[in-house]
Amino acid sequence: MPHHQFPPAGWYGHRVAELRTERETLDHIRDVGVRALTLDDDVVSMSHGAGGKASSALIDAVFIEAFGQPHPDELTDAAVLELPGFRAVEAPTRIAYTTDSYVVNPLRFPGASIGDLAVNGTVNDLAVTGAQPLALSSAFIIEEGFSIAELRSHVQDMRAAADRAGVRIVTGDTKVVPKGAADQVFINTSGIGVIPADRVLGARQVAVGDAVILSGPIAAHGMAVMIARGNLDITADISSDSAPVNGWVEAMYAAVDSADIRWMRDATRGGLATVTNELAQDTGLGILLDDEAIPVAPEVRGACEMLGIDPLYVANEGCFVAVVADAATDAAVEALRTAGADQAVCIGRVTDELQALVATRNAFGGTRLVDMPSSDLLPRIC
């Protein structure tokens, strides 16, 4: 047996005399974590658009730096604006206002197209602010040479999605750029909606013991797109979950006391893990999820297992998380199911046992941390 010189001198540093305890290290990481994220890149990379820590760093260092820090409750899916009431007699009206750009490749994949996404995404950003969507704008950036028949098909998808969500597309803009200056077509939509006076959502409303409700199965959209890109040589019967959630939100408000609905967010880019982490960070409280309760379609789970991807981090386009008062849990879930979100389910609780962290517990009692994703999802080697 060859006796290996190990470790080679000078490669490992030295074992420090005073080792930190696990607790001390975790406290130290938390203290460092609350400091502002720093942006130390010179160029924008794909991870700056993936919705994780790199995106937050870019937004903080570039956009908030220039536009100013919004109110803590404002940096959500839509801004909330107050319009003064008529002659100061009426109460002011609260308007939700949001915008989103849609760039997806391929433009059409099982279950949705860029047109569906452009409407549903913006409608959902309004709905989870508690707003009833009123109207959308649509702006197109089209690459020279793009097929008009294909453009028409995406616009028709937008119309169908708007009809389904009960909103109108009322204004728009079209720009054509030279071949190569854009990839086929990019769509931006903005939307406005009215927030009924009795709806107050936000991190400050959330209390320990509240229930975390998920409107339906996760991870289908992201996996459908990844497979449709075709560079993985995998086929699976997976369709995007792209859908408007505003009808479900309304059904929930109709069934429970408005004050019992505390917080909502749609679980798009970055998936359920990102949304629940935002909840934990905004409230400073812990979120304990029940792993077995989180619905994932078998074929989606199969594809995720095969590629080594955690479904909690995969994007959704018709799925939202609501925090409701414990006593309203059953009524809220029932209302969602009756309204068509038939796999809506309570997936966990808000707890004070963890500080600003998300964890899941599995059926045999093992717990694990669910961290913010740091960059794009990539399949693992084994």
């Binding site: 290996h4 160029v43 955690d310």
Partner: protein
């Protein structure tokens, strides 16, 4: 889901956990079990298994994360290859985010003018080469005996197709030399190995006879589901309680004593063993890497391109070697979680989700 749910059955898991507690309670001693594979480390943390173990049973996270062990100099070489004109650079997804010396990675995604694509199988890279005859396709091959046969198969297919635009940057490694190296260190006291199930599928469980023979500790070939690991821990404890020390096979649904004959034939046909290979965090280990054999040399990227090949030492603050040999817990490292994070890794244990520190950072960090 078939073949997954069976291995996550809650009742079966609870029964095994109870057996583990009973067995360890019956013996008055501490156990350090090293899981050799990064895949096992990932499962242990992802399913919270560490916290379900009795105090006497400790997991030590071994060297078997193929992404983690690639030294920084080789990553720099890969990035250099990706930047050569006309090159389509291909590799496994999780290799793409590993930073080189200047913090750049293969994730540039066109922003840096490169064309880097992730593939699920080396054969996909061959297909890209066939479909893009005007480009030069380089496959960044990494992994143990697990993925090496797939690279070997890709090379033979490229040979049959007569491709002249397909090259392999070979970084395949062997499992036994690093395991033997770790077990030879005097201050590393391991009580058993949770054996690398995927590698064993190729090389066979017999390949690990040296562990009980030369190092006098048991090893159990183990699958990658939570129940597999719990069953394996039970088998190791039972060996101790019955006074046995041998190679056992928990992963019998895929692992055979003799391994996979076709894969082994491909390995010996396409590769030769290099006299030495540098491992990130472990240093140079003799006879631990594969090189492309002479008859397939025309596919060797290191012969076709003038690869810089500069050796870059690990970061001075890095204590990965101590973590990899179980002498330090991830959180005991000075830079863990602050200077060294999955987003900005300093050391090998943090670079892939299968590395010990990344797995603990991602899943284990609970008060």
């Amino acid at each position: 889901m078939k073949y997954v749910d069976e291995y996550r059955d809650p009742q079966a898991a609870r029964d095994l956990i109870e057996q583990i507690h009973r067995l360890s309670d019956s013996m008055d001693r501490h156990f350090k079990f090293m899981e050799v594979c990064g895949g096992h480390t990932h499962t242990i943390y992802r399913h919270g298994l560490e916290r379900l173990m009795p105090e006497q049973v400790e997991f030590v996270h071994g060297p078997g994360c193929p992404v983690c062990v690639i030294p920084r100099g080789r990553v720099d070489d890969a990035i250099w290859l990706a930047h050569q004109p006309g090159v389509i650079f291909t590799t496994f997804g999780d290799m793409m985010r590993v930073p080189g010396t200047k913090k750049q990675s293969l994730l540039g995604g066109g922003a840096d003018g490169t064309d880097t694509r992730f593939v699920y199988s080396p054969l996909d890279a061959v297909k890209i080469a066939r479909d893009n005859p005007e480009s030069t396709v380089v496959f960044f091959a990494i992994g143990f005996e697990t993925t090496a046969p797939a690279t070997a198969a890709a090379i033979t297919v490229a040979d049959r197709l007569g491709l002249t635009n397909f090259f392999v940057f070979c970084n395949h490694v062997l499992i036994n030399p690093p395991v033997a190296a770790i077990l030879s260190v005097a201050n590393v006291q391991l009580d058993a190995l949770i054996g690398p199930g995927h590698v064993a599928t190729v090389v066979g469980s017999r390949h690990f006879d040296f562990v009980p023979r030369d190092f006098h500790i048991p090893i159990v070939m183990t699958g990658f589901e939570p129940l597999d690991i719990l069953a394996s821990v039970t088998m190791l404890l039972r060996q101790y309680s019955e006074g046995r020390c041998e190679v056992e096979n928990q992963y019998a649904r895929v692992v055979r004593p003799e391994g996979n004959a076709e894969a082994l034939r491909l390995l010996s046909d396409v590769f030769t063993v290099k006299s030495t290979f540098e491992w990130r965090g472990l240093g140079s280990i003799p006879d631990s890497g594969y090189a492309i054999a002479e008859k397939y040399q025309r596919f060797d990227a290191e012969l076709h391109f003038d690869v810089p090949g500069i050796v870059v030492p690990d970061h001075p603050a890095c204590q990965c070697g101590l973590v990899l040999t179980g002498q330090l817990k991830p959180w005991e490292c000075k830079v863990f979680g602050t200077g060294c994070t999955p987003q900005n890794p300093i050391g090998t244990c943090m670079v892939s989700p299968e590395g010990a520190c990344a797995a603990y950072y991602n899943f284990g960090r609970l008060p």
